[in-house]
């Protein structure tokens, strides 16, 4: 299976995301964000999945900074885009050793469906929370999110058997 073109598309989208996040960011953060494309592309091509985690970690400061400086909704959407691209790169990396076109196509459809559902809910939730954010005590928000995360974990474990 040829993975050059899909990898190039993912890398180009990642660069575009990095460029958007780098606007107005301090040079080290912007540089790290832009350079994160290198491990992403190498990881997707060679199948070295830890490189993808490195790429995402390099992108993270720019995402946090965007959430602090700009719109919460846009920062959340940027985070979603970063996760989606990283997942596609991970899929390509997993298919590097044992390529199977049918598997990659089906997995891409499922990842895209997950991302699309998340996009809809994220857009709604963050737009609503933009109004609430100035009023919300961060400690209450953290406690709420932690509870939700633990519930989700418990639910997922039950489902997994």
């Amino acid at each position: 299976m040829r993975r050059g073109l899909p990898t190039a598309l993912v890398a180009a989208s990642w660069i575009a995301l990095s460029a958007a996040l780098s606007v107005g960011a301090p040079p080290p953060v912007a540089l790290a964000s832009l350079l994160s494309t290198v491990p992403l592309a190498i990881g997707a091509l060679t199948g070295l999945r830890p490189l993808l985690a490195l790429a995402f970690a390099a992108q993270l400061p720019a995402l946090v900074l965007a959430s602090l400086r700009g719109s919460i909704a846009l920062a959340a959407l940027a985070m979603l885009a970063a996760l989606y691209l990283a997942e596609l790169a991970d899929l390509l990396a997993r298919a590097a050793r044992v390529p199977d076109l049918g598997y990659v196509r089906e997995a891409t459809k499922r990842i895209s469906a997950v991302a699309a559902l998340s996009l809809v809910v994220t857009a709604g939730a963050t737009a609503a929370s933009e109004q609430l954010a100035p009023l919300l005590d961060p400690r209450v928000a953290i406690a709420l999110l932690l509870t939700l995360a633990l519930l989700a974990l418990y639910w997922a474990r039950e489902r997994g058997g």
């Binding site: 959430s67 920062a75 979603l80 044992v98 049918g102 961060p138 928000a141 939700l148 058997g161």
Partner: protein
């Protein structure tokens, strides 16, 4: 052709990526707490949503695997074709990983990412270069949600064993000197006159003797009809002892190569002796000790080849125990005793020399130091040579470099002595 349909066990676990998602969420929470600003919390929303929606797609499928292997035994250097048939009750994205304990996978892969919708077939070939037992299976099937945050591992299928039998060598020209012979016609010179090729003696003609056996010169000299007698050729019993212990002087690869050569030689001798109608037994001393009582036929050959396929270097018990206790039990006096040993220790040579008066002993010693340079190897080779000279006084010793033709080495060692009591 063998087919295995199998029981399975399954386990669900959080993947490394799932843990990274969890760490990312916690990191963002901590960042929000540290900055005393709720805005980074917005970044946790897509993370949580992606993880949550991905879990909705977690497959609910029942999997089954069937395996077909085209042969249950091969000779070293041959290939085995493996076919896996994965069945799923619902469409599932699965990672298939088969286990192959030895050999190299060619034509196809033992790992695959597969969209299993109903049935999916995977095929590959394994090249088995070296003697031994190759285990195929169990198969690991990994199902997961689209993001692979959780994975469900199914371990399916029994382990199928493929026996890789030793390669056969040309083992002609060794000759047997046993004076014990059985009742059936064979290739070993007996102490009796009868049908055969070797000259035994001359006696007076008796009614019923064939005219072509008349010795006309003796008849003319003595004035009465004389006939030639031949040595009767019969079968014998043989015990092949393979010594794969005490190989500590060699590294693992060298030891394995030496044991491969010993196994090939033993297999070739067993085949040759059994074809000639002899009864052949086997004693192997390696990681596991094993012995087979002398017997005839294809079944015995199969048992010997399987035992040699399983032979691995090691030493659970000293060889002298096997020789002193087992040989009188397995082998009749004056039968053929064939020891295949690298002669790396004096006590092995002593044990064999103790057997020499009771049996027709042939020692074939594969040289583990052939072609090696260095003072240490030279000293070891001198020690081994002195043991061979000592042993050569009481029995026939063939010094053989693995890889070189055995008949040439056998010629250097000479022919066996004629059996005691034969007049030739």
């Amino acid at each position: 052709m063998s087919s295995q349909r199998s029981p399975y066990r399954r386990a669900t676990r959080l993947t490394a990526k799932g843990r990274l998602y969890l760490a990312l969420t916690l990191g963002l929470l901590l960042a929000a707490a540290a900055l005393e600003n709720p805005r980074p919390l917005a970044l946790t929303v897509p993370v949580a949503l992606m993880a949550g929606f991905s879990s909705l797609f977690h497959p609910r499928a029942e999997l089954r695997v069937e395996r077909e292997v085209d042969r249950a035994r091969v000779v070293a250097g041959e290939r085995v074709r493996v076919k896996l048939r994965v069945r799923s009750s619902a469409p599932a994205l699965a990672e298939v990983r088969d286990r192959v304990s030895r050999g190299s996978v060619e034509r196809g892969s033992r790992e695959a990412l597969a969209l299993v919708d109903g049935e999916r077939e995977l095929e590959y070939e394994v090249l088995l270069q070296r003697r031994g037992v190759c285990e195929l299976g169990p198969v690991r099937l990994i199902l997961g949600d689209p993001l692979r945050l959780w994975e469900e591992e199914w371990v399916c299928g029994k382990v199928v064993e493929v026996h890789v039998l030793p390669k056969l060598l040309a083992a002609r020209g060794l000759g047997l000197g046993a004076s014990y012979t059985g009742v059936w016609p064979g290739e070993v010179l007996s102490r009796r006159s009868g049908r055969g090729y070797e000259f035994y003696g001359v006696r007076e003609y008796a009614p019923g003797d064939e005219l072509r056996r008349v010795n006309w010169r003796a008849t003319a000299r003595l004035g009465r009809l004389m006939v030639n007698e031949r040595v009767e050729e019969r079968v014998t019993d043989a015990l092949i002892v393979v010594d794969a212990g005490l190989l500590g002087l060699l590294d693992a690869r060298e030891a394995e190569e030496l044991v491969d050569a010993e196994a090939s030689l033993a297999a070739s001798l067993a085949l040759q002796l059994l074809r000639a109608g002899n009864r052949v037994g086997l004693v192997v001393r390696g990681r596991e000790n094993l012995w087979l009582r002398p017997a005839f036929g294809k079944r015995q050959l199969e048992a010997i080849l399987y035992a040699l396929a399983r032979l691995e270097p090691g030493e659970p018990a000293p060889l002298d125990y096997a020789l002193n206790m087992l040989t009188p039990y397995l082998l009749k006096p004056n039968a053929e005793f064939i020891a295949i040993t690298p002669l790396l220790d004096a006590y092995v040579a002593d044990s064999i020399s103790q057997l020499a008066p009771k049996y027709s002993v042939l020692v074939i010693s594969p040289n583990p130091f052939a072609g090696r340079r260095g003072a240490a190897y030279r000293m070891l080779e001198v020690e081994r040579s002195s043991l061979m000279v000592k042993l050569g006084k009481v029995c026939r010793v063939v010094d053989w470099s693995p890889g070189s033709p055995l008949p040439r080495a056998a010629r250097r060692a000479g022919r066996p002595k004629p059996p005691r009591g034969a007049r030739a």
